[in-house]
Symmetry: D2
Subunit: 361 residues, 4 copies
């Protein structure tokens, strides 16, 4: 209710600041009997962690996760799973300069106005560091969804600033530092990023994600629709400014004959719906696009004010991602997994007795 719990039946309650002792979360509602190990979670954390290439922040965090509860002899017990990640590489003094200053595009000003106090070190609670716990919890969700339904959730960066990178194949995504689905574009992107970093500026990105094999029937209309909760989930990720399901904003110029997906006994003939109709999954792949704004922390001077209301110029020299979108793909995947597992559980609460109707296409 106070904003730090995500999900209703499979929920994560998150805590932690960027430069405090630790971040972590409590995963509540995980079905019992799922085999889960630290390695399962660590694998996903490693995909997101900082310092893996020169194109992302050089903060060194091993992001080592500890499972504190809820797993017994290698299996979930149905009780809450406590996850803990100690912060290791805080350079809080990097932030002493911005203690009394509001960085443009950051939450500095709004946290201070809201709470009357803020942990200014590294953005405190507003830091994207918090997303590590989502990725950790998402790893559990992903595993259950895959084991139980064969669901596969995958994302990729589909645009980096002005450069669109069309999907080529899933195999490429983890073979390059940008999570693009076409590794042949790597050099082009590296050159772009090197130049950007030199310029001291930052850039936005677009992430696309797909969930395959989601069964028909998930989603709770009329408000807790699957698409509505995906939109919510994506917009909770730091720096996200837009969300599309299926055809998204392209729907605006489409006509009904083009947009609405025809059905045949063999299945749907298109997927403008993005796998969701009336807020309920259709059985088709669920497709999502997310717009990520450029990093607000840049080296170039920007006009702002300090706590006394005086004009200042802010330059940010800490360790920052010049494109926060680059590490966002695992986070988008995790949020999609968290929405889906929650809806899987909600769906069977009310409709466990409903035998799937035929025809199922």
């Amino acid at each position: 209710m106070s904003g730090n719990t995500f999900g209703k039946l499979f929920s994560i309650t998150s805590f932690g600041e960027s430069h405090g002792p630790a971040i972590g979360c409590v995963v509540d509602g995980c079905p019992p009997g799922l085999e889960i190990s630290v390695e399962d979670i660590q694998h996903e954390l490693d995909r997101r962690k900082p310092g893996t290439s020169r194109h992302v922040t050089q903060r060194r965090e091993s992001d080592t996760v500890e499972i504190l509860s809820g797993v017994f002899e290698g299996k979930t017990t149905g009780t809450p799973i406590g996850l803990l990640i100690r912060n290791e590489d805080q350079r809080s003094k990097d932030y002493s300069k911005i203690k009394d200053v509001f960085r443009p595009g950051h939450a500095d000003y709004t946290y201070w106005q809201k709470y009357g106090i803020r942990d200014y070190r590294g953005g405190g609670r507003a830091s994207a560091r918090e997303t590590a716990v989502r990725v950790a919890a998402g790893a559990i969700a992903k595993k259950w969804l895959n084991q139980k339904f064969g669901i596969v959730i995958r994302g990729y960066m589909s645009q980096l600033g002005p450069i669109a990178i069309p999907f080529n194949c899933w195999e490429d995504v983890d073979q390059n530092p940008f999570f693009v689905a076409d590794s042949s574009r790597t050099e082009q992107l590296e050159q772009f990023m090197d130049q950007l970093r030199k310029s001291g500026d930052s850039v936005g990105a677009k992430i696309s994600a797909v969930a395959d094999n989601v069964p028909v029937g998930w989603g709770e209309p009329v408000y807790d629709r699957l698409d509505a909760e995906i939109a919510y989930a994506m917009m909770t990720i730091n720096a996200v400014k837009g969300v599309e399901i299926g055809a998204g904003f392209a729907s605006v110029t489409q006509q009904g004959t083009e947009h609405s997906d025809e059905m045949t006994p063999e299945g749907f003939l298109s997927n403008n719906a993005g796998g969701i109709l009336g807020g309920i999954s259709t059985g088709q792949p669920i497709t999502v696009n997310v717009a990520i704004k450029p990093t607000s922390s840049i080296r170039l001077g920007r006009r702002s004010i300090d706590k006394n209301g005086e004009s200042v110029i802010v330059e940010t020299h800490g360790r920052h991602d010049p494109c926060v979108g680059i590490r966002a793909t695992p986070i988008v995947e995790a949020m999609l997994a968290l929405v889906l597992i929650d809806h899987a559980l909600r769906h069977r609460a009310q409709t466990a007795d409903v035998i799937c109707m035929t025809p199922k296409i």
Copy 2:
């Protein structure tokens, strides 16, 4: 929890099918002492109601609202407000043909798979008719937000299919049947719609909305952010496929120097953030764009299947909006109002003691 309640501290719980006896909702959490009358609510309902021009559905519903509780001697008492709208002009027989058929682009198939049973008349619960209760509840929210904080929430249709209609002035919006903010475009739009209607096809639209005078500090990070809940709210509206806050998808190609809004003692110099940073309102106008898909119910034949899995051609001859976007503006405004009032109450729960910090810009 089962999907038909929106909001946490100011919540609406909705019920009703398109062709059942009535639709309605319970508004819980409205602060006591607000003067509210049937007229206040009816005014907003009339903006949305069907049959007001030839460009929308010809179903005749007076949408007369009855206040069943929670208001005493003209003022809210703090107890739940029951709102009831009787359905009047159901032509359920129009729907007997589609009883066993799934209309492409509709929720027919998904409701049937989810629940194993569906009220096929007029889309049942999945009909946009349900949005009338949101508009009714939104009228209460709007009034409170305006009286208490001077907040003004306004929307307009910014694009109709291929035709973008830039903002001219707010006064125009209620002076034309399209809710566009430039009445000089009315004739062009009428011609477009007349032709579309003749063709039997439908088209998408884009709605833009702005909330002015929202105080700094609303929004509950890190999940129940103001932007995340706006995205959720918008995506709960039938036919919505995309949501943007502030610069939205344009952020993808922006650089940090362009996107992040500089601050001076006199205020922000731009509003790419759309009035929200770190999930918390900045005090700037909150700006939202919503993509609405073309109506799925069209006269032109479309391939589909029936309950036996046989191929069928579906033509929809009932009374439908050729562009559902046309009547969507009051709904978008209502949802924005419902999110804002909910966050107004949540904000003061935790932070009622926080004196607003200076400088406030």
Copy 3:
């Protein structure tokens, strides 16, 4: 969140004042496919309704329920069920005298202090009239629990003021105006009540309830335990001051050898637990006792104050139950049913894959 929704996955959201136009509720989360008719609900309402004997209030309410949504061709559809009961026999002028006065033992003073405004007619929202909607919703819950699991929920008045009425048989309960489980005591109770009514005073009561055939495994530890939510549910009923599960307060003087229920391959040997261990149902009958205070509205003069803080003597001459406990049995049953169905759904959300373990006793 604002207090008028009960339940999480099977929830009721209630509205309405004693002397407003109507009371009602929205039932959300009811599984689809349940046959339900107005008669099913009316039957339970008639058990609770006023005016059925000289021992209860003489207000004449037919308590006719209308189903506004969620039921199609005689079956639930999974969408929210709107229930409406019009108020008929309001004699609001009875209450003009207490408009500015706080009746001792009533919520008059607290509502006024909380909200700064109150509908004083008949207690407004604080009236036990609201419990009619619980009974209506409970009828749906009872039917589903019975059809799906064979669960039988029954209550009886086990004590009327100083007179304990031990359980004799269930058949008797609906054969006397007191809901006692031993009709041979009827005359004694009638004499007691006649005398009490003459005296102008009122009296408390104890209600006992049992749920048979509840499966093992329901309840969500460690907070949303089945017993905790039963205690909550019972204490939401007007005038309830105490709740016991199983041995209840008798546990205080018991020793472990006496209290803890031994198990054999044939089952438990006793039921001090009241069918719940660790917050989870054991498969034994769930047993609950509820203490109900004497009606606060009595004819005898009582000291109080008015809105100006002046001393007044309050006599209440309206139509009141001299023992609110008499009509409470159907309400206690309804609340127990509402808790159980909610937990039935919650249980299968997380554990639908768990095959019931052997031995099951």
Copy 4:
């Protein structure tokens, strides 16, 4: 939703098993600006911790709490507070004998049936060890309530098995190992406990608690009443079987003239209501009684079954409290504090604008 979160606006989400690596919780919604230190929390934990006298379990846990987030430079920031307590003195091998056996009166059987898997060591999640995190979170709630409203929450053991110990004075409570409010009874109680321990049996207890200085107006009718949520809170404590507010079960035999508390310009003349009318606080002290069953883990042999359904005799020789009620007082206080702070925040969400009415008595 899955049972491990308590509270809505000030919420704790708990995790941890008795013999796992750690227990802990996330406190979300704490108002910013509260000075809080490890010592503030440790003080309350020390009151509850095991091993402090020969009358309680000899398990040695320092119960050292670590604050992981949400506190910056000694003050709460409004962000979630992560609390961690490492388990230290697990003797898990004590439990190998009961691995395949269900202890009578314990949650062993129900957890196993519910989840199909259980951490049998020390009761796992069902252990009263979990209550340490409630006491830790309660310390924060207590401090805020006291600083903000002068609220004082105190409890005491009012009955130990057959021995009632009437209230003498608050000062005595922390001066004896039983939390009784009359230290002159200590010797009698020690003799009773020594004999009980020798016998191998256990005994129940009654805890009474009072909250002074609670303002009028807290509580959200008609379901989330203050008394209903107190009943819920108390029944979530391990071993609790009954809850009373105010006169409780004594109300059953009271008449209206005796029970309902008269009011004068100087205040209420009695407090049978226990400080709550219509679910809303009256401004009087809130009074609660709680029945605690005898410890189920006893040395004396008890009939039970094992996982194969075979008859077994269970004797429990681990380290257990012969009366779990002895250490329950701080837990009852904590739960009362958690309910009150949650309602403090909920109250001001909706009614922050309501100026307290006169007369206020």
